[in-house]
């Protein structure tokens, strides 16, 4: 009887120990709450952190662009302040007199005729009209310019005719461009010149917009061209 009791007691103890061991093992229900927490954290991370980090990266990009713009504007300020205002005003007046904002056909013809008379040439034919010229057509960025253009024909001695042709560059107050110059001998000392002459102007009606981020080039970089234009302007002033 005592043996039976101890056996049953041992059995009970073993059962109790097994139950204890089983109780210490992790069950599925133990993971439910942690899994829920992890899912919530991941959702928060993706829905909140990722957009926040993207925004911050965009802010950094924008910051870089803003700093680049600041540098551009600082350089522009330095370059513009280097240009002396009085000289700029004087040069602007000079270049506008040489390449005016408008060139009347009548003024242009008058100028050519006066020049021809100076060279003792007789007029064969002269006419002119407004035209749009594309200059630098073979270049990457051809420019459109406005001008007054017309065929002319004069006759006189060879020396006078050649002098007339050169005077377009040397003594012309305007910027003119002769094309298709045809020189033909009529008699021993009479030559006829026929050409197409264009006088240029820049129409200020096309308003230039102020864009501070446009690349800035000071006009003082073109000193030789400015010098030529100044001389032409001085000639115009002397004639007037």
């Amino acid at each position: 009887m005592i043996g039976n009791t101890s056996q049953s007691r041992t059995k009970k103890e073993l059962e109790a120990i097994s139950k204890k061991i089983e109780d210490t093992k992790l069950k599925l229900k133990d993971f439910v709450f942690p899994i829920i927490i992890v899912v919530v954290l991941l959702l928060v991370a993706f829905l909140v952190f990722v957009p926040m980090i993207n925004n911050a990266i965009n802010f950094r990009k924008e910051l870089k662009e803003v700093k680049a713009k600041e540098k551009k504007l600082e350089d522009l300020k330095v370059a513009v302040e280097k240009i002396e205002e009085g000289q700029l005003n004087r040069d602007l007046i000079d270049v506008k007199s040489v390449i005016p904002k408008t060139l009347k056909v009548s003024s242009f013809i008058y100028y050519i005729d006066e020049l021809a008379k100076e060279k003792d040439l007789t007029s064969e034919s002269i006419s002119a009209g407004d035209v749009k010229v594309i200059a630098g057509a073979d270049k990457e960025a051809p420019e459109d310019y406005k001008g007054v253009n017309g065929p002319l024909s004069y006759s006189g001695s060879l020396e006078n005719v050649l002098s007339f042709l050169d005077s377009f560059y040397t003594s012309s107050p305007y910027i003119v461009s002769p094309k298709n110059i045809n020189l033909e001998s009529k008699s021993d000392d009479e030559w006829e010149v026929a050409l197409n002459l264009t006088g240029y102007y820049i129409d200020d009606a096309e308003v230039t917009r102020f864009d501070m981020y446009r690349p800035f080039k000071p006009y003082t970089d073109f000193s030789s061209e400015i010098q030529m234009l100044r001389e032409k302007a001085n000639k115009l002033k002397a004639e007037n």
């Binding site: 005592i2 109780d23 927490i37 952190f49 926040m52 980090i53 925004n55 911050a56 924008e62 910051l63 803003v66 600041e70 504007l73 600082e74 300020k77 513009v80 302040e81 240009i83 205002e85 700029l88 005003n89 040069d91 602007l92 270049v95 506008k96 040489v98 390449i99 200059a135 630098g136 420019e143 310019y145 050649l162 002098s163 042709l165 050169d166 560059y169 040397t170 910027i175 461009s177 298709n180 110059i181 045809n182 020189l183 033909e184 001998s185 820049i202 200020d204 230039t208 102020f210 501070m212 800035f216 080039k217 006009y219 073109f222 061209e225 400015i226 010098q227 030529m228 234009l229 001389e231």
Partner: protein, 238 residues
């Protein structure tokens, strides 16, 4: 079994537990002692709680870092934008100067575009006249100035030999890139010719480029050089 024997067995079988004193100096202690199972469970709970706390702390650090990064970036951007705005206002004050500069530049570019294709008709005519005269009795009847590089002329020579020499010299001329004879016809007392020449780039500068020097130096009246056809014409001044 007698009762005494049962009591002895119970005493030997049951583990000896030290029971806390029910009545001690502080009062009556009713809290039961924890079993081993409860102790293990408590230890596990403590570990889980510590893990949870550390996770929360880490999460907080990440949140603070992200928010701080975003806020600092935004603040820096706002500061730089303010600086840029102030700079733009400064530049707007210089807009007149910038626009005037643009107006001048427009005209300078026009002048450059036009003058790049200019050439001196007199220089070219005189040069080829001189080349022709050296060969003998040669005269030009017409001269067509096509562009700054391509020209054509017609004339007559006293003999075929003269016309051929002229052609040969034009081909050898340093300012001439190529010569094409369009026409060569013999008359009873003369030979008519017609040539198309292509000059090398910048063979004859326009007078405008020389004019700057002319303005600075006293003007000289100078006829064409009477040297041979290979002489340079670059110093010709009106």
């Amino acid at each position: 079994m007698s009762k005494e024997e049962e009591k002895n067995i119970k005493k030997t079988d049951t583990p000896k537990q030290e029971l806390p004193p029910i009545i001690d100096d502080d009062g009556i202690n009713l809290v039961p002692i924890m079993t081993k199972k409860e102790v293990v469970a408590e230890k596990r709970k403590a570990k889980v709680n510590l893990g949870a706390v550390l996770s929360i702390v880490l999460f907080l650090f990440i949140t603070i870092a992200v928010v701080a990064f975003s806020t600092i970036s935004k603040l820096q951007l706002n500061n730089e934008k303010e600086k840029l705005f102030a700079l733009e206002n400064d530049i707007k004050g210089l807009s007149t100067k910038v626009l005037d500069n643009q107006e001048v530049l427009k005209r300078v570019y026009l002048y450059k575009n036009i003058s790049s294709s200019q050439f001196s008709a007199r220089k070219i005519f005189d040069y080829f006249s001189e080349v022709a005269k050296k060969q003998g009795d040669v005269s030009f009847k017409s001269f067509i100035f096509g562009s700054d590089k391509q020209h054509a002329f017609e004339g007559s020579a006293d003999s075929l030999d003269t016309a051929s020499k002229l052609w040969y010299l034009l081909q050898k001329d340093k300012n001439v890139e190529s010569v094409v004879m369009d026409n060569l016809s013999k008359r009873s007392d003369s030979v008519d010719f017609s040539f198309k020449v292509t000059l090398i780039p910048d063979a004859f500068k326009s007078l405008d480029e020389d004019q700057v020097d002319v303005v600075k130096q006293p003007q000289q009246s100078q006829g064409p050089s009477t040297n041979d056809s290979d002489s340079s014409w670059e110093d010709y001044k009106e």
